[in-house]
Symmetry: C2
Subunit: 161 residues, 2 copies
């Protein structure tokens, strides 16, 4: 590997600003959620995905795909959320291969209570820090990165694959 | 909280592209490092910070600040890296309040062996996906986010605070 294309100074600054800004941002969002609502950022994202799915339920493996998580990670998270009463596991009528996770009424209320503070934090620490042009650049570039990196898996919650 | 400024469609797309792209990117970088070098992304960043510090050593708490990690997180990481022989703990001659972590010669070799593959992955999945204008926008906007979120702590490895 003697032909390494090292990062030049601008590229290095771009990478450092991005990775350090991201680390601080995720910590701030996690802290706001934990402090104000007792929910981790990861758990919050799971609840959001369930709330947006048809019937507020998703197959466990679709939930893992949607959150780009491992199956075991989602299983642990759903166990936590089930203990809190915000999610329940239900068997699929039409599909014996897997379990569904379903948002409970208490989970929907929890999400409704939690969302305003989280959205305010996302605005304060990220969205409102960016100009319209920077938002467009972030949207385009991270959308491209996501599409390039996304595994070839269905991300919809639709039945029948 | 009935005055919530929810994200509009463009802002929502910006946030989603960023958070999903970031999740996939970190996973890809972590996977490359683990597979090719047996090092996590977090551990790699620690080794880089030590390699750039004067004398290749930093006080544990400065290392936590520099990587925006908790003290306990850095302690666990240094324990792992010490077991691998890449880092050693040394007492500060001039400062009884804390321990230093120091990069070993084996750690410096490990970093030199690991860096080319990691930089290639950063290029492939991020830097080379962005136009020059997008890189400038990411550099400016995440630099601003970082500065706004950075705790009021010294990030240098300089002695004497």
């Amino acid at each position: 590997m003697d032909e390494v294309r090292w990062l030049d100074s601008d590229e290095q600054d771009t990478w450092r600003a991005y990775i350090e800004g991201t680390r601080l941002l995720i910590q701030a969002l996690d802290r706001q959620l934990e402090t104000d609502s007792g929910v981790s950022f990861t758990d919050y994202e799971l609840l959001v995905h369930l709330s947006e799915a048809p019937g507020r339920r998703m197959r466990m493996r679709d939930l893992a795909d949607a959150t780009f998580s491992s199956r075991s990670g989602v299983t642990r998270a759903v166990t936590r959320l089930e203990a809190a009463g915000w999610v329940r596991r239900v068997e699929c009528d039409d599909d014996r291969r897997g379990m569904h996770a379903e948002l409970t009424a208490a989970g929907a209320r929890k999400l409704a209570d939690t969302a305003p503070g989280h959205v305010a934090a996302v605005r304060q620490h990220m969205i409102d820090q960016l100009s319209a042009g920077e938002r467009a650049a972030v949207r385009a570039s991270f959308g491209r990165m996501r599409d390039e990196l996304r595994p070839g898996l269905s991300r919809t919650g639709e039945p029948g694959e």
